[in-house]
């Protein structure tokens, strides 16, 4: 249930940006979430509505950009794209994949007023 802490992180970034960049309301929040980040999107969406209450982003729309999982295969030594951490290599079928991307959790941008 660390989606709640994650959203609290988003809230504090937004509140800080509101002060430094001078906006009073956020209407949309766009996040980049990697497939391997371990973030459960429905839980994040639920937490978002709860945690943003009373903040600049109260009632804001949440848009999530899914980023693919990237891995290097120890067997065929190629960089491949995967859906899940336990996928086998889509090229050679090897099971030894080292995940190298897709654990992103970033706030991309905000639509503000």
């Amino acid at each position: 249930m660390h989606e709640m802490s994650i959203v609290e992180g988003i809230r504090s970034v937004i509140e800080e940006a509101g002060q430094t960049q001078g906006f009073a309301r956020v209407t949309k929040v766009r996040l980049e979430i990697g497939r391997m980040s371990g973030v459960e999107i429905p839980a994040l969406e639920f937490a978002f509505d709860v945690v943003m209450n009373g903040s600049l982003a109260q009632g804001a729309t949440l848009e999530i950009i899914n980023l693919p999982g990237k891995a290097v295969c120890f067997d065929c030594e190629e960089n491949v794209e995967i859906e899940h951490r336990l996928d086998t290599c889509p090229r050679c079928g090897g099971a030894r994949l080292l995940v190298q991307g897709g654990d992103e959790m970033r706030i991309k941008d905000l639509e503000v007023l």
């Binding site: 660390h2 802490s5 906006f23 980040s37 336990l86 991309k108 503000v112 007023l113």
Partner: protein, 301 residues
């Protein structure tokens, strides 16, 4: 805030002054800003155009200065342009935690301290393993930070060995974070060249995402948990640098396949090191101590 170029200020007029200064233009007339804003100039050059009320006439309004710009949600209006603007953030959601973690890492590096973040499900034997480790390390300087939702039981068990320990109770929290470790470090003596053990809250999910400033996460998995645990909770094993398969003395009683444990861990993280230990009998513990000492030697160099 000017919705055209983003220049600051509080009142519309001030903003427009700032806007003109920014775009290198003199203010034509004190009444100009509102009208010019209403024209939604598309280019910088358009800002200095003398204003007329063409657009307002076209909308059927009277040619006076009594018109309202503030009906939109932003309290101002720039026709032809949506009131909302986009602010690039490009920040890691956990950047605040990562800042704390980076500070902790720097502090620990200055003291040549080798820090491990011990993560596992509740009941895998983290505290027993730590107690045994401390006993075997003898006089080596070390300190322990214990994370649990409630009670000081674990810190009490560590203190009983004579080692300094501080308990962090997270309340409802499911993991330790960088700020908690910073506070804990401020309250405990940590000699140069010490080993720091951070025993995280028993939880195989959330602590994976929170960097504390440690040198390595050590995932502990006991043989009673089932061979497929690394596959069920891959994030933690993916984040760890070392996995300890604990309670191997129980393996014969549990019908478990230790090789399958190991291959499932490597399936999730091909780069991970794996050691088989029993904190109770001491089996395999020497290899774990060697791993710790090697880490400490790397920090000292």
């Amino acid at each position: 805030m000017c919705t055209v170029c983003g220049c600051g200020g509080h009142s519309v007029e001030d903003q427009f002054k700032a806007h003109l200064e920014k775009t290198g233009q003199a203010m034509a007339a004190p009444t100009a800003p509102l009208a010019v804003l209403a024209q939604a100039p598309a280019s910088v050059a358009a800002h200095s155009k003398p204003h007329d009320h063409g657009t307002i006439d076209a909308q059927g309004a009277e040619c006076t200065h009594d018109f309202h710009l503030g009906r939109g949600p932003a309290g101002t209006e720039v026709p032809g342009m949506t009131q909302a603007r986009l602010v690039e953030i490009e920040t890691d959601i956990l950047s605040k935690n990562n800042n704390y973690a980076a500070r902790n890492r720097e502090n620990l590096a200055q003291k040549s301290v080798f820090a491990t973040n011990l993560v596992s499900s509740p009941g895998s034997g983290k505290t027993t393993l730590l107690v045994k480790t401390i006993e075997m390390l003898g006089a080596a300087p070390l300190a322990v930070i214990e994370g649990d939702q409630q009670t000081t039981n674990d810190a009490d068990r560590i203190r009983a060995t004579g080692a300094p320990a501080i308990q962090v109770n997270t309340g409802k929290g499911c993991h330790l974070d960088g700020a908690m470790i910073e506070q804990a470090l401020a309250r405990m003596p940590l000699p140069d060249g010490a080993l720091l053990f951070i025993e995280n809250v028993g939880n195989l999910v959330c602590p994976a995402a929170f960097d504390l400033g440690e040198d390595a996460k050590v995932a502990i998995l006991s043989v009673t948990e089932g061979e497929d645990k690394p596959l069920k909770y891959p994030d933690m094993f993916a984040a760890a640098g070392l996995a300890l398969i604990n309670k191997v003395d129980l393996a014969p009683h549990c019908d478990v396949d230790l090789d399958l444990y190991e291959s499932n861990i490597r399936r999730v993280n091909p780069a991970i090191e794996v050691l088989r230990v029993s904190a109770r009998t001491g089996e395999g513990m020497q290899a774990w101590l060697d791993w710790l000492r090697a880490g400490l030697a790397r920090k000292a160099s």
